[in-house]
Subunit: 99 residues, 4 copies
């Protein structure tokens, strides 16, 4: 692959992860949904880092606090875990779903 920025751009272009500032859905909620989708589809794999707060800010053009809030929701919902000073990672799904 030639260029990660280009790749990301195509993703943007094809409309997958975009923030709509005019939506009634809060921005941090939209970001939670985007990340949750990437985790569920396996684009963000278990025990691999999710984008850092700084990257989310750069990618989606949002305020830092908003990105932090979204990540905290993921952690609170058990989809990710934070390692102090290192980053936030995708939580391994429990094999114990009540299916």
């Amino acid at each position: 692959m030639v260029c990660p920025a280009l790749t990301r751009c195509f993703n943007v272009f094809y409309g997958l992860p975009m923030i709509d500032h005019d939506s009634p859905v809060p921005v941090y909620r939209q970001l939670v949904d985007i990340l949750r989708g990437q985790i569920e589809r396996g684009e963000l794999a278990p025990d691999r880092p999710i984008p850092s707060v700084a990257q989310l800010v750069g990618t989606y053009g949002i305020a830092r606090g908003t990105a932090v809030k979204a990540v905290q929701v993921l952690v609170r919902d058990g989809l990710a875990y934070t390692v102090t000073g290192k980053g936030t990672y995708v939580r391994r799904r429990e094999a114990t779903s009540e299916t």
Copy 2:
């Protein structure tokens, strides 16, 4: 051209605004020059927001202090102004340039 995001991406891809960490020119200086260029070419239009410090950190992969320094230089040089709670904006050029 269909998509501004794509356009911007190609710019990135073709190397226009990139930081060279091996250059003797300090990184914050390089960033100032990039932003000043975007302002002068009108890519960042008067009274429109410039990227936030956090966004610059994510976009260019630089340290926070470096981005802060660059933005401070822009404000000091009268190229941008900050509105608390809103953002940092490109200053309208005075029509009184000594042309």
Copy 3:
């Protein structure tokens, strides 16, 4: 006097800085006068923070816009300055007053 909080409370109790909603003087003007008085008497010292807008709202039971207006007047009049991410502070008096 043992406790600054107690002291301040007595001031409040004894009616020094109070807003009179029935006065013909606009509320924001009254607030400006209160704050200006506190600054001039040194109760709010140079380079020390003044109460935030939200705090003034809670303390005086006034509308947000009213508190904002009062603070803006103080800043415009050169009695205070705002540092983003830190607070709004009392401006040091120039030693050059036309005494």
Copy 4:
């Protein structure tokens, strides 16, 4: 009782609810603990409003966002509920504790 402000001041004076900005415990956490204590001791009664965000800001001298965060934690923990445009109230304790 003569004066609510005085009353509150005595509370402050006798050290019950104070915020320690130098504590390693985050300010919003300290505020959660203060309010939780007042609820558990019945000082804030079921279906009665807790102090508004503006009041908390004025009383404790903290930023608005910090007060909002504390209140949201109370709501998330099931100790309070919010009525849009009205305020936040103490939740009636379930009689169904698993004691």
